[in-house]
Amino acid sequence: MSEWEAMAARLAAGEATLLGLWGEPGRVHLAALEDADAAPAIRHLSRDCPDGRYPSIGRLHPAAIRLERAARDLYGLEAEGAPDRRPWLDHGAEPTAYPFLPVTGAGLHQIPVGPVHAGIIEPGHFRFTCDGETVVRLEARLGYAHKGVEALLAGADLPAAARIVGRISGDSTVAYAIAFARAAEAALGTAPPPRAAWLRGLLAELERLANHLGDIGGICNDAAFALMQAHCAALRERVLREAAACFGHRLMMDAVVPGGLAVDLHTGGAVRLLALIAELRARFRGLVRLYDGTVSLQDRTVGTGIVRAGLAARFGAGGYVGRASGRGFDARRTPGYAPYDSLAFEVPTRAQGDVNARVWIRIEEVTESLRLIEQILDRLPEGPVHAKMAAGAGEGIALAEGFRGDVLAWVRIEGTTVARAHLRDPSWFQWPLLEAAIEGNIVADFPLCNKSFNCSYSGPDL
């Protein structure tokens, strides 16, 4: 049995967790974490596919199915034995011609939704099959935001590549930039200065804060509790304004680059951020009480959209989706990276796996992010924020923990340009779980469930 097939067996047996599967012309790659490793490191396998074929991982391990479909669309690599051979990112010339999986039964009807949705939302299509009000099956069709990211990255110089990577999923621009920078630094053996590593942590926690605040409000809004949305959106705006004041951009795009940071914390930034933390703490406390004490809201979120723990573990779902279903994985801990290895923080988990649990994970992570920012500001090293990248060739892989979960970055650098790169969004392993979570719920609860996942469309659409 080849190393590749042995890994497929371990993934299927639940002894390893899939981190990604991707292609390049004539070659397929896989990354995983092995449970047996005492000090978990990313295992990276790759194999040549001279005839364009490789043994399917998805055949044994469903979490790989969509990744294999994407690799086939992008590079023509055939996963032998793959259970689902439909295209994924390639919509062809006739976008409405797509063979959804058949659903049969008496009295069932279908509701097609998207790709243009009712709100300000990314594009995707949801095909609901319903029995009265109850969803029997949801099948999502994504790929509408496919932008040819990997083709643009191939041949780009490092600064240009970093700009593209920062726009694969705009809400996670910092996390993507950190993952890519760390992969590039590993490839060329460059270490960023200590101050840069610490400021990256600061940026990442600000991004997490802003997104979690937006999500908590958004979830409540989808349960028709607009008051929470108004308050949370105001707090989110405060974070974005401070981010702009401290780093020059509301979403902190292009701040993190290979070698360190493109921008240092602006003068007076630490004082501003400490004031922000005090303000958020004071205001957030009341909002948590409001969430917890509003029975009509709890009635919507508790017991809705349950993801079973076994499924979350099998798909290696990261972020609040995994943690709300008992999977405590956090890339800041495992494999871990600076500055988190010298900071104190909790990774909250819950067992219920419902919308309420996903809200609570976010609530607790807001509190943890505030603690982390305080610690970083307290111990922020002095010094430069950028080191010149060494020239040369190499390959690097890294994980970074975004607000939504772990982002995987792999890059091969030749000279001063990116030969190939791949970024794996956390949503790859969360979207399929949404289809399971909605089963047996009413159609009207879909927006609530969907927002509690808040998966990225652009990120996995590449």
């Binding site: 990314e122 594009p123 959106a233 409001l290 659409d461």
Partner: protein, 167 residues
Amino acid sequence: MFRTLLSGLRPPLAEPPVPDTELAALGAALDAAARRRLGRGLAIRAVDAGSCNGCELELHALGNPFYDLERFGLRFVASPRHADVLMVTGPVSRNMRAALARTHAAMPAPKWVVAVGDCGAGCGVFADSPACLGSVAKVVPVDLTIPGCPPPPARLLAGLLALFGRR
């Protein structure tokens, strides 16, 4: 719950509606122009044509208590049938081309199109991708472009003002 609710609503959480004087002037002008043109309101339909979702975040922010675009009579609507203005983000991925064209076709005239962000304008990082058409104007007629990556909410409001000022 009422106590929490009411104490939470008290200032300063509910910020003064317009914190920046620039925004105040902008809002006043937009209000006058919008009323002249469309009476009491303007309905906006947003379509993401392959954006990275950065522009969506800032379009969302227009609704927060700091910008509160509904006080100008501007609001996002759920159907293109109800819309006067189509705000389009993204470099128009090939996979969104048909959906964008059909959304535009579904809007009643008179209608205006705003291309949002560097991608919509055709100068973003994905403009030259073979998987994208490259700009909103390649698919639907564009009346106004609001550049930025992403354009901050204040600029989005200013852009809507420019749309009215021109016509």
